[in-house]
Amino acid sequence: MIINHPLLGPRDASEFTYLGDANLMNRPDWLSENASEQFYEYLYLRENPAGEHCELWYHEQGDRSWLVITRNTLTNEISKVELARELERSA
């Protein structure tokens, strides 16, 4: 696969390591009432869609950017690549 890095242009996927669902960026608030329930869901209940999936990749053999990549898990088509640090977080 080729990942079109927002800063560095197209790079081979072998330069990256994969983490998983980009929802990992939305870490719950530790002080919320049901924090342990929220953390359990955050950590263990992730989407695994057949189709478009937002996921985290790390440019380990490159500039060490964490990227949020929108990839179709059926075709590997990548429709969007963004820098994680520039994205809004929902939690």
């Binding site: 960026m25 985290l56 790390y58 088509e77």
Partner: protein
């Protein structure tokens, strides 16, 4: 020996004869021959024995789809099994031997299996050899394995070099036949960067096998002219002997280039290169493959695909027979008759399964329309054929054509499905082919020459236009379209004898029918049950006819029956090529410590830790056992002073206004109040509450910290920190970089460590206990001005320091330290002594931080702050991780002090049987303690801290041991930590 079947013409160089041997016999061929064409020119028909029944087999095709003619090439460590003779280029001194027989190829003792063939039908080994059960592994399977099969391996390491490479292009053209050459011309003329690959050593594809004309010249001449034009273009790279074996995501293709397979030796060149080609677009011009018709005894040597017979005659001037018969269901078979007759080969008969008017035929050939071959005769080679009407025709070569299959393989590598096209009775590429790929020529189902040239031209022009290049105005080369009418005909129903579909795996029509009878419907199941389409040829000639027969059985159409999934590689790829240079000590990179050279001079024994080579111990003269060296290193360190290279520990430099806040969130224990010039132990959890890593972090300045990690987790911790900084808390002002390799770091441990260091550290820096107490750190200079960092931390439990200097001074530093320590009889110690001392001190390490243990298990639950947000603290409170009978880390010593403890033993309460139910924990680390004079261990046991003094069993059924051990404090030395603070 004479080349008795060599005839005029062909693309061989008769001025360059080449000698070679086959099964020890000497032959001669010409430059430009393949092993197959040279064998045919010499009249060798029998070249192999079949996989299961050991039937005599000959050359069947003229290309990479060959199912039969597999040979051993070369000898000794260079031996290469299962080489297809049809693609093995002849070179001087080539040695080939046939495979899969006992005795001799001609009188194979294993041919007896053919007599028992009724017992060996599809799935026979699922049905027979069932009893007694124990016989399977010991008797049946070894016999089956040794009697069935392909070639054998040399058993030696491959002495050749293999390499890998990366290429980029605008347009990759796969196949250099008429459509590929036409496409390359158009793309090359536009200025686009083009790569043109073909598996053959000679570009031209079928043009070299046919007698067609292009642009008023012979097809071969046109191909040569085109290649010359392409070779003159700087933007075009020509890659003969290169197979595109897989189509991967985003325009990436795998290619295997055979650099020196065609040479007697590879010299210093790589034998093969595995390329990864990044293309913006690809044009697949892979051509088509002829398929056979199944009839009785259709596997005898001399029965060949009609197109292949024509290829041998036209391209190689080798006649596969003197009196050739043709069995066809299409117009193309007739062309073989004409081409052979033109070269003076006698055509005895043309049998066409179609009930239609005959095409024009060479004089003297019997024409049988609506005819069928039901059987053949000839033990080691065909001698006659029998037709459905009973007529017998003598022949020494039967050319069979069942039509042509477009080579759709690469279009299906991303799960695309081909679609059926009735007019050519074959599958063509479907709509869901890989992004960026276009198909032209026969591969797309356009089986005629003029349309292949046109389509290649047109496709390339549209592709380059799409990429922003200006297509050239030059017109496409002209040719005629030849007749290619075909009427599907798969097998002769009237045949009573076995009719082969898959020659390579000995799968017959009957096997397919049997599989159907036994309930197999899915083609994927059919394939696995009958082994159809497996092994080196992957069913290139057999899959479609077999599908057709399955469709007949089920009453469905062929497209309804469907194909099996095509997966890479298109043709076999040697494991050596996939490995490339990553073999032996180059399997992965090796990292050397800054003191490596010095340690080697000392005769150190090394051990791999991750990618690092670390000194394990430093043997001295007179020491005959590693433990003697280790005991000495431990004792001398504890009594005086020892030095160890600890560069391999991860070092992460962390800076920024929010660095403290950041550390406070990634460590479980508090970090906000660490003063400048101090070091703190840090415990890092994963978000699930399990311990991830531990280490120390030093505060070097207002906003400047240096974290250390374990050697093993240096990479993963750094990745985790970047994740936290970028994905969780991007608002924090913090930046980090790995400094592991930038600093050489040495532990200086033992009661004399300060005295030793005072000789090295420049005098303006006071490192007395008062000025530089336990857990102090600072930036200093040593040896008269060299910047260094000093940390007063201890892993050994002794008064100890770690000193870091820029990595390039590491070698000088170890020498200076050892010299300064001479008066204290300083020792260098390796990872073994390091391990012994940390176990004596009760420090957890990799064996304890194994990804399953919590801070509570390690006795560090009080470190996990409940007053702040940090990774892992919420889930560390889960009830399951906080059970009353949870594990805790304690020490162990054998009741009988002479006994040795073993890591991996499991603890069972005294009196209980040693089984899983009674399992209470395990021994994680053991060492012989030279201080105590006996074996000691660390381990996890339920409620361990409440059970000090209790005797339990350390059961080790794997090593048939069970000894009594006493639970003790994990701190075997200096439990109060006084030594650290003196």
């Amino acid at each position: 020996m004479t080349q008795k079947n060599r005839i005029d013409g062909g693309l061989i160089d008769r001025n360059e004869p080449i000698s070679f041997t086959f099964d020890g016999r000497q032959f001669e061929g010409y430059s430009g021959d393949t092993l197959a064409s040279a064998l045919l020119a010499n009249g060798e028909k029998l070249v192999a024995r079949s996989f299961k029944y050991h039937r005599p087999r000959g050359i069947f095709t003229a290309g990479s789809e060959e199912p039969n003619a597999l040979v051993h090439l070369r000898r000794g460590a260079y031996l290469e099994p299962n080489t297809r003779a049809t693609v093995a280029e002849l070179y001087g001194g080539l040695e080939a031997t046939s495979q899969n027989f006992r005795g001799s190829l001609k009188h194979d003792l294993m041919a007896v299996t053919d007599v028992f063939s009724p017992l060996l039908s599809a799935g026979f080994y699922y049905k027979t050899f069932m009893w007694p059960k124990a016989f399977w592994e010991k008797i049946y399977e070894p016999i089956i394995r040794s009697s069935a099969g392909l070639g054998r391996l040399s058993g030696e390491e491959d002495p050749d070099i293999y390499d890998k490479g990366y290429l980029h292009c605008d347009v990759l053209i796969i196949g250099a036949g008429p459509s590929g050459l036409s496409a390359a011309l158009a793309a090359g003329r536009s200025g686009a960067r083009v790569i043109l690959c073909d598996e053959d050593f000679r570009f031209g594809g079928r043009l070299n096998a046919e007698t067609f004309e292009v642009s008023g010249m012979s097809g071969t001449d046109w191909a040569m002219e085109t290649i010359a034009e392409l070779a003159a273009m700087d933007n075009v790279r020509l890659m003969p002997r290169t197979t595109i074996y897989g189509a991967y995501d985003h325009g990436t293709y795998g290619a295997l280039e055979r650099i020196s397979d065609h040479l007697p030796t590879s010299g210093n060149k790589p034998r093969q290169v595995l390329w990864r080609i990044y293309s913006k677009r690809a044009v697949l011009c892979a051509g088509s493959t002829e398929r056979p018709i199944a009839f009785g005894n259709n596997d005898r040597p001399g029965i060949m695909l009609a197109g292949a017979v024509r290829t041998y005659v036209n391209r190689w001037g080798a006649a596969p027979g003197k009196r050739v018969a043709i069995f066809t269901n299409n117009d193309d078979g007739w062309r073989t008759a004409h081409d052979l007759a033109a070269k003076g080969v006698e055509i005895t008969a043309i049998i066409d399964s179609r009930e239609c008017a005959p095409l024009s035929a060479p004089a003297g050939a019997a024409i049988i329309m609506g005819g069928q071959v039901v059987d053949t005769k000839g033990r080691h080679g065909i001698t006659s054929i029998t037709l459905a009407n009973g007529q017998q025709i003598e022949t020494d070569c039967l050319a069979v054509s069942g039509g042509w299959n477009p080579n759709v393989h690469l279009t299906c590598h991303q799960r695309g499905r081909p679609v059926w096209r009735e007019n050519i009775a074959a599958f063509v590429p479907g709509g869901d082919i890989p992004t960026g790929m276009m198909v032209a020529g026969a591969a797309s189902g356009e089986l005629t020459l003029a349309s292949a040239l046109k389509q290649g031209h047109k496709t390339a022009n549209s592709v380059v236009k799409d990429l922003g290049f200006k297509p050239s105005r030059k017109a496409v080369s002209k040719a005629e379209d030849e007749p290619v009418e075909v009427s599907a005909f798969w097998h002769v129903k009237a045949s009573k004898s076995r009719a082969w579909l898959d020659l390579q795996n000995d799968v017959t029509v009957k096997d397919i029918k049997l599989a159907y009878q036994e309930g197999y419907r899915s083609v994927e199941h059919l394939k696995r049950y009958t082994t159809l389409g497996m092994a080196t040829d992957q069913g290139k000639t057999s899959n479609i006819p077999a599908l057709a027969i399955m469709a007949e059985c089920t009453g469905k159409t062929i497209p309804e029956t469907g194909t099996t999934i095509f997966r890479p590689p298109y043709t076999p790829i040697p494991i050596s090529a996939l490995a490339g240079r990553s073999r032996g000590k180059n399997f992965r990179p090796m990292r050397l410590t800054p003191s490596d050279k010095w340690a080697k001079e000392q005769g150190a024994v090394f051990i791999e830790t991750g990618m690092w080579m670390r000194a394990q111990w430093f043997p001295r003269e007179g020491e005959s056992h590693w433990r003697e060296s280790v005991n000495r290193e431990v004792k001398q360190t504890r009594n005086s002073v020892g030095i160890c290279d600890v560069t391999t520990l991860g070092k992460i430099d962390i800076q920024g206004r929010d660095a403290a806040e950041f550390l406070n969130r990634v460590y479980a224990n508090p970090f906000l109040k660490l003063p400048i010039g101090k070091v703190r132990y840090g415990l890092m959890l994963r978000e699930d509450g399990i311990v991830m890593d531990d280490g120390t972090t030093a505060r070097l300045g207002e906003n400047h910290y240096l974290m250390t990690t374990t050697t093993a987790n240096a990479v993963s911790v750094f990745r985790h920190l970047e994740f936290c900084a970028q994905c969780l808390w991007p608002d924090l002002d913090v930046k980090m970089i790995s400094a592991t390799e930038q600093f050489a770091q040495f532990a200086v441990a033992g009661p004399n460590s300060r005295k030793l260091l005072q000789k090295i550290v420049d005098t303006k820096f006071d490192i007395s206990n008062k000025a530089f107490p336990f857990m102090a750190c600072g930036e200093i200079t040593v040896c008269g001005g060299l910047p260094a960092r000093l940390f007063r931390i201890s892993f050994s439990g002794e008064l100890a320091y770690e000193i870091a200097v820029p990595a390039r001074y590491g070698d000088a530093m170890i020498r200076a330290l050892m010299e300064a320590g001479e008066e204290y009889e300083v020792v260098a110690y390796g990872t073994e002594a390091l391990g012994v001392m940390r176990i004596e001190k009760g420090h957890a390490a990799g064996n304890e931080l194994n990804g399953q243990t919590t801070a509570r298990d390690l006795g560090m639950e009080r470190m996990v702050s409940k007053k702040k947000d940090c990774i892992g603290n919420v889930l560390s409170e889960r009830p399951g991780l906080n059970r009353e009978d949870g594990l805790s880390l304690v020490g162990f010593q054998p009741v009988d002090r002479k006994l040795e403890l073993k890591a991996g033993a499991h603890f069972v309460a005294k009196g209980n049987p040693a089984n899983t139910e009674n399992d209470e924990g395990w021994m994680s680390s053991v060492a012989f303690s030279p201080i105590h004079g006996h074996s000691i261990g660390l381990g996890f046991i339920k409620r361990g801290h409440e059970r000090l003094g209790e005797i339990v069993q350390a059961a080790d059924p794997l090593r048939s041991r069970n000894i009594e051990v006493e639970i003790v404090s994990p701190h075997f030395i200096d439990p109060e930590g006084e030594r650290l603070r003196v």
